[in-house]
Point group: C2
Chain length 362, copies 2
């Protein structure tokens, strides 16, 4: 029996996308072999590859100015690759810090060249409980790029309005909330997302970037490091992670069938509202540390009156068929990650459990 999966990533995937993979795992569309046994240069895999790109292009309404690139190594690899491609001796990058991931991204950039903090909402105790407002950030117009993180998985914060970086190319790590809703791709120079939240298994990173920006990247770095190399080759410069891209294709096809990103947004807002409303109505028992305007629709973090109760909550939830609720080891508490594959019904089950747990222990 399948459990209800609130894992922060790798995370639960839509059952139809997995069933499709299972049903044809030994014999892809009558070809007599698994999709992972097909040559990446053969027509069977190519059809999957370009369907994944076409689905993403339709779902997001990606304009001709932008393109899709598949990469590997997770978002962490992009933390190194982005400054390697785009930093110049004459232009620094600017990082907006909203959690541990953006700190890591900044640290990598500093090794490559000049990188500065454009804004940070770090609290004295090292936590982050909100994202900055536009007024708090000033971007130096002479920058190579400005880097933001749309959602912080760990602290449960999210930008509901993206920052306006003006003439500075906006690079955004969307790993933990990519495709939770539609967004205006044309506003970004480069967005990237490790697949293992809303998109598929770990092992592939989806990049949506402005062609002109990719072409502006450095040429004095290894060819395989250049985003432009992969963009020009339709992500077939070398063997791509074919099985992972196939699974992303399955997930994207599921999203389209379910009504696309407007439907995802509607569901995700309803799911997040249900949990936050529960937290707010039971605020004597549950504490939600994130400021309301910065609350994440993907990762809802909260605490119970004691660590012992946190532990009991996780254990009892598991008995009720819900897993992945333990908060990150750095923060403790509870975290419910409610990516696209988590249904409204799953969330309703959690909310009922939260109410009954508060009632019996509060």
């Amino acid at each position: 029996m399948r459990v209800i999966n609130f894992n922060p990533g790798p995370a639960g995937l839509p059952l139809p996308a997995l069933e499709r993979a299972r049903d044809e795992l030994l014999d892809f569309q009558g070809s007599g072999m698994s999709i992972m046994e097909h040559s990446h240069r053969g027509k069977d895999y190519e059809a999957v590859h370009f369907e994944a790109i076409a689905l993403l292009t339709r779902l997001l309404g990606i304009p001709d100015s932008h393109t899709v690139v598949f990469s590997t190594g997770g978002a962490s690899m992009q933390f190194g690759m982005i400054p390697t491609n785009f930093l110049r001796p004459t232009a620094a990058a600017q990082y907006v810090l909203t959690g541990g991931w953006s700190e890591k991204a900044l640290d990598e950039a500093k090794i490559v060249g000049q990188a500065r903090i454009a804004a940070t909402t770090r609290n004295n105790d090292g936590t982050y409980t909100r994202v900055p407002t536009q007024a708090e950030v000033k971007f130096d117009t002479n920058s190579a790029y400005a880097h933001t993180t749309s959602n912080n998985t760990l602290f449960g914060t999210q930008f509901h309005d993206f920052l306006d970086t003006g003439p500075v190319p906006h690079v955004c790590d969307m790993s933990s909330d990519f495709l939770w809703r539609p967004f205006d791709v044309s506003k970004f120079a480069l967005t990237y997302a490790g697949a293992q939240k809303n998109l598929g298994p770990s092992g592939v990173v989806v990049i949506v970037a402005k062609k002109e920006f990719l072409a502006s990247g450095r040429k004095d770095i290894p060819k395989v490091f250049r985003y432009q190399t992969h963009a020009e080759a339709d992500s077939m410069y070398n063997t791509p992670p074919t099985l992972a891209i196939y699974l992303v294709r399955n997930v994207l096809a599921w999203m389209e069938k379910e009504g696309g990103l407007p439907a995802m947004e509607k569901r995700n807002r309803a799911k997040a509202d249900a949990i936050y409303n529960c937290l707010d109505s039971l605020s004597d028992f549950y504490r939600a540390p994130v400021e309301k305007a910065s609350r994440s629709t993907m990762n809802v973090v909260f605490r119970l009156p004691s660590e012992a109760l946190d532990t009991e909550f996780v254990a009892d939830a598991k008995k009720a068929g819900m897993v992945g609720l333990k908060g990150h080891r750095l923060t403790g508490g509870i975290r419910a990650s409610i990516y696209n594959a988590v249904s409204e019904r799953d969330v309703q089950t959690l909310v009922e459990f939260m109410k009954s747990f508060a009632k019996s222990k509060g």
Copy 2:
């Protein structure tokens, strides 16, 4: 019905490894979720991860001086990462060229720093039909490393005796013949292999390296670029490609059950002998361009009397249930890739087909 798969990579995988994946794709060991939906920090995935490492350690007899690292981006990514980690202003790298892949590796190293050709067996027409002998290569003892390619997938050449690089750290791209037989790991500073030949799906690279060598890598490069970072973190510095590593685990478990690398070697030699013997006994019809001492046990390349017959051969073989036999677009002709998952029986079917084709068309 499954076909006989002679693809050069991504390639056929052992059926039991795939069946195991299919049977538990929606529910891994009663956990109620797919292995790809498990957290990489959870005990279920961790057990798989460390079992993969333990299996590889047992199969190869990896000594304590060496360690296993999982990477991504294919062998091509390592072409960039190796010089980025190990080149120094004071020490060049030396590359032995035996085909297009080693040329690519050299080109990337030249962008990063100093890299020279230690030996090349390139023919005037750009092809390679043999690997160099030890006498043809002289390694400058002051080098950062010497780079070789154990098997050339495209031209079908292979080192049967590895070159002795003396005191120079030996870095070897084993992508297309890793685990075809046992080898003495202690002789190498670093070996690497994209999984999509003998090991699993594309999307993960297996590295076996000397701990001391990894620790000697540069520290002035992004943390995520450093092999040492991943070695120290047991390849869990960031989210690894969990599904790909799980499949590698399944393939390694199959190898061990089948008798390990001595059994693989015995089968692979018998398979290669069967095809080469057929080619030699029908040398009026089939031409095998590679010098005998350099013939690959993994990729057998040959030509028929005309391109038209090459095409007919591929088409007729397909009708007989055998796919992936078309030679690389740069070389033309026929290529039978006979990695570990291709059985002796599969090869016997091919040999019978070759005999009958020669008889009817010769």
